[in-house]
Amino acid sequence: MKYITGFFAFWYDFIVGDAWEVAAGVIVGLVLLGLAAPTSSLMHDYGALLLPLLIGAVLAYSLWRVRGTA
């Protein structure tokens, strides 16, 4: 039981850590892009530019949240 708890604790810490919004933002963004890229020519052409912008926005939002509570 200890090893199972430890296994899930490791992955929770690895993926979520102390900033759930980072993991959530990345996963939601990738799912949306993954759904849109094959169906929308606009997303297929510009998705590669959109993804880094989205990641940058997630990072900025997460830091802004911490600053608000500091």
Partner: protein, 251 residues
């Protein structure tokens, strides 16, 4: 002549992939220690050898490389982004720079209580090294198989890939020592940038995005994230009170 073309093509294409794998291994080793990293590298090598041994050239049809890219890319992206975020927090005073000292004290106390912990696994560095070597290693194998099948000569592309692995690894070892003298938060900042760039590239490829410039897009992503991170540091610095030194999570 065809043999040399196969060798050189495989060498150049594989070198790009090996640089990516070695970068991750180096990043994990320099920042978190080498033992678990080497175990991760060896484990990935064994998995690769078993896959190649069992499936041979049929590997192309068996491994869902797209799914692997999504899973490994997403994990690296999230993990890298968290490291980058914490490094920025330290630079801007949102998190105490002296956390390392506190963590060091805590580690020493823990080690004194439980000496066997010194030989324990660092699963984070193991995971980063294992995933990086496995994914890039698979891509090298696919390169060799593709060049080999198209030229009906498996030996030259295989030798080209092996030469690329040796050359890149030797260069990496040459720069490893100077890297270990870089301040810890700077290293974590750079490693966070690299993991975020690699993760974005792989996850993007996995969900079907076409990167302009193929693998060179990683360099563009690295520069883009460096600019974003520098901008965030400038924007946040001075607007925050110095942190009290309490730890916000680990790493």
């Amino acid at each position: 002549m065809n043999g040399w073309v196969g060798f050189l093509s495989s060498f150049l294409a594989s070198a790009v992939e090996v640089v990516e794998a070695v970068t991750l291994v180096l990043a994990a080793g320099v920042t978190r220690g080498w033992r678990s990293v080497w175990i991760g590298v060896v484990a990935a090598g064994v998995v690769l050898a078993v896959l190649v041994g069992v499936f041979g050239v049929g590997l192309l049809a068996v491994i869902p490389i797209q799914a692997l890219r999504i899973v490994i890319g997403t994990l690296l992206l999230v993990f890298g982004l968290q490291w980058l975020r914490k490094a920025i927090m330290r630079y801007t005073g949102l998190k105490g720079l002296h956390d390392e000292a506190a963590i060091y004290e805590r580690e020493v106390a823990t080690l004194n209580q439980a000496p066997s912990a010194a030989t324990g696994m660092d699963w984070t560095s193991f995971t980063v090294a294992f995933k990086g070597v496995l994914l890039e290693g698979l891509e090298v194998v696919f390169i060799v198989i593709t060049f080999g099948l198209s030229s009906h000569d498996m030996l030259s592309p295989t030798l080209g890939a092996l030469a690329a692995a040796v050359v890149v690894t030797v260069v990496a070892f040459a720069v490893h020592e100077p890297l270990s003298r870089v301040p810890e938060n700077t290293l974590k900042f750079v490693v966070g940038l690299m993991l975020t760039a690699f993760g974005t590239f792989w996850a993007g490829e996995g969900v079907g995005l076409d990167w302009p410039g193929a693998d060179w897009a990683i360099l563009g992503l690295l520069i883009f994230y460096a600019v974003i991170a520098a901008g965030l540091i400038v924007a946040l610095r001075g607007r925050t009170a110095p942190a009290s030194g309490k730890a916000v999570g680990n790493a």
